[in-house]
């Protein structure tokens, strides 16, 4: 039989042909768009008098620029208002389904597509956003593209691409208490580095990922790009099917049975050939937190900021830059670092299970004086369900703000941003210089539970110490 990975099978199924350049022309089954990277693409279509070839295969929402406090229109930010209007007009003109604010289904693009069952195994999915890798959790091949490529997908439903190699990242064993999917991916990136994945798709395999629910798998695949891999995926299984069944766009009846049979065949063959394989042991992972200015600069929460001598030579200049920017000295424990802002949300950790886990820790505790802490649900549906479960009341009682859905302070294209030198404990995905809206702002990445621990203590805290004492 075949000795193919899921990546090979999905790639072959969607291959339209080989271009003169030698690149593959790949069909994109599902195209997701948002307000930031699409307006220029529609403008290019108009300039060239091109239409949208398969409008039904593109789905839009608005997420990056939406305010998370008052969402009243017009937005106070006139640029943001222009951007949402452009998306509304473009979707209306080209017949594209658009989940606008108030539709009940708006939210971060990588949250809404899975929760509606748009994201399914075996698809190729593209979106003008690097965290499109998220959708790989379902066994889809999903990756971020730029605006000119958004234009190409709109006009032709295809892209010109070089095929990626596949690296199997196998992790076995159970996670220790207080260790979450976010810690798993931060650990992997810490160990492999931020550029190891260039040229690769990451297949996350082994009992640790098999034991994860779909939302945890999405957290892992979401940050494949932070490890340099344009896409990451997990082979579909019973957990995937149970999540999908009954969702808005999931196949129904006899179609469902046919789909599951197809999905089962998509899984990487037991003797599939990989370009590389790396093994990890889940039991070795501790709650992990970044201390620097790339997602690869991470340490276990009970470790100290590394000395340059402990790092490979090539990593030292960046470490020196990070000490200066973060104002964190080598040899100093990361626990105890004072925080100003605590953010729970984003396409990495703004889903219901993240909020449940955070609320569990926040219940009966209170945000420390002087700390601003806020929770931003990933979508209108997440918000509605969280409120139905009373999670918002837990957060509000504990002194967290409860906001409207959007990307919020992950990248601060909206009013949510750091000020000056503020330091944030953040459940998002990037700790780049200036990422959270202040050119001098500082970000420490961690799991939502660790963010709650930091919020209630006022400084970076090992969440395991709170778990032992959870009321």
């Amino acid at each position: 039989m075949s000795r193919a990975t899921l990546f090979d099978k999905v790639w072959d199924l969607h291959t339209v042909g080989t271009l003169a350049s030698g690149q593959t022309q790949l069909f994109i089954g599902l195209h997701l768009i948002h307000e930031v990277t699409s307006p220029q693409a529609f403008a290019m279509l108009r300039e060239r008098s091109l239409g949208v070839l398969y409008p039904g295969r593109t789905v839009a929402t608005v997420d990056h620029i939406v305010p998370t406090q008052s969402q009243q229109r017009p937005f106070a930010d006139t640029l943001a208002e222009q951007m949402i209007r452009a998306l509304e007009d473009n979707c209306a003109e080209f017949g594209i389904r658009f989940y606008n604010i108030g539709s009940g289904s708006q939210g971060i693009v990588h949250v809404i597509a899975p929760e509606q069952g748009l994201t399914q195994p075996g698809m190729t999915i593209a979106c003008g956003d690097s965290h499109t890798a998220t959708h790989g959790a379902f066994g889809a091949i999903a990756f971020g593209i730029g605006t000119s490529q958004v234009r190409d997908v709109l006009a032709t439903q295809t892209l010109a691409l070089d095929k990626l190699k596949v690296r199997r990242i196998e992790m076995n064993g159970s996670l220790c208490p207080g260790v979450f999917a976010k810690d798993v991916i931060l650990h992997i990136i810490r160990k492999l580095g931020v550029k190891a994945g260039v040229g690769y798709a990451y297949e996350f395999a082994g009992s640790t990922f098999e034991a994860m629910n779909m939302e945890e798998r999405m957290t892992v695949c979401n940050m494949a790009i932070e490890g340099g891999a344009r896409c990451g995926y997990i082979n579909p299984d019973a957990v995937t099917y149970a999540y999908l069944k009954g969702r808005d766009f999931a196949p129904q009846g006899a179609d469902w049975e046919r789909a599951v049979a197809w999905w089962e065949n998509l899984r990487s063959d037991p003797d599939a050939q990989y370009d590389d394989t790396i093994h990890f042991d889940a039991a070795e992972i501790a709650p992990t937190v970044t201390w620097g200015i790339t997602p690869g600069q991470g340490i276990a929460v009970d470790e100290t900021v590394p000395w340059p001598e402990e790092l490979p030579g090539e990593d030292r200049p960046l470490a020196e830059e990070a000490y200066r920017y973060m104002d964190l000295a080598p040899g100093v424990p990361i626990v105890g670092t004072k925080v100003d802002v605590c953010f729970i949300g984003s396409c990495t950790n703004g889903r219901l299970s993240d909020l449940r886990e955070a609320a569990k820790l926040a219940r009966g505790r209170h945000v420390a004086p002087g700390v601003k802490a806020f929770v931003v649900p990933g979508s209108e549906r997440v918000k509605q369900q969280a409120e139905a479960e009373g999670l918002h009341a837990v957060f509000l009682e504990a002194g967290f703000e409860w906001r409207e859905p959007g990307c919020s302070m992950c990248l601060a294209m909206n009013p949510d941003r750091l000020e000056g030198r503020q330091l944030s404990a953040s459940s998002s995905n990037r700790n780049f210089k200036g990422r959270q809206g202040s050119a001098r702002g500082r970000t420490l990445l961690m799991s939502p539970a660790m963010v709650v621990a930091a919020a209630v203590q006022g400084h970076i805290t090992d969440v395991r110490t709170l778990l032992e004492a959870t009321p």
Binding site: H14, G22, S130, V194, K195, A259, M413, G434
Partner: protein, 204 residues
């Protein structure tokens, strides 16, 4: 569609590895409907913080068209605003030790060649530019080399990208549309439908 065979100009060196797209163009400048004004905002925060010492502000680098960068240049987000901002500033080609993948693809799509060079060769270029910032460099895409005075330093570029520049097909839309019949055939053959409209098995 224009063929891109070589780029000649002065170079601006940018030291450091892992320069991410948020640094190339901070997110707040993405609140726009066109790429037109992005050139002025390229490296906005880095430039502001360096108090005029940033290479993109140095008088002798104004008008430069080649960028020399380090490892993993352009990592982070998929925003095409990053290469667009560099291009609007005047950059027409980039030579670095390595590039992040989405950034590289975005550069190809807008006709901005990115070539990789060995660290020692990049160092040679950095040194030469530091000593003689007005000296002209040529990135030769046919020979895959940087010509610097008498020296000829080898660079690498994936064959697909190289061919797209040399043949003038880096703007892929036309080529992709030429396969319309094959596109429709694949769409009809997929085991899943057009998600929001058609049930499974109907394709298209």
């Amino acid at each position: 569609m224009s063929r891109i065979v070589s780029i000649t100009g002065r170079a601006v060196p940018l030291p450091g590895d892992d320069i991410d797209t948020d640094r190339i163009i901070p997110a707040r400048y993405l609140r726009c409907l066109t790429f037109d004004g992005l050139g002025e905002a390229v490296f906005a925060d880095d430039r502001h913080q360096s108090g005029g010492e940033h290479p993109f502000d140095a008088a002798h680098h104004q008008g430069a068209s080649l960028l020399l960068a380090g490892c993993n240049f352009g990592c982070g987000s998929s925003r095409e605003h990053a290469p667009q901002a560099l291009a609007k500033w005047g950059i027409r080609a980039i030579v670095a030790e390595s590039f992040a993948e989405i950034f590289f693809g975005n550069c190809v799509a807008i006709g901005l060649p990115c070539a990789t060079a060995r660290p020692e060769h990049l160092q040679q270029l950095h040194t030469a530019v530091a000593m003689h910032p007005h000296r002209l460099l040529t990135l030769d895409l046919e020979a895959l080399a940087v010509h610097l005075h008498e020296a000829r330093l080898p660079v690498l570029m994936p064959t697909g990208a190289q061919q797209m520049f040399l043949s003038g097909t880096w703007d892929a839309t036309g080529q992709l549309l030429a396969g319309l019949a094959a596109i429709r055939a694949i769409a009809g053959r997929l085991p899943y439908g057009s998600p929001p409209c058609a049930p499974l098995g109907k394709g298209g």
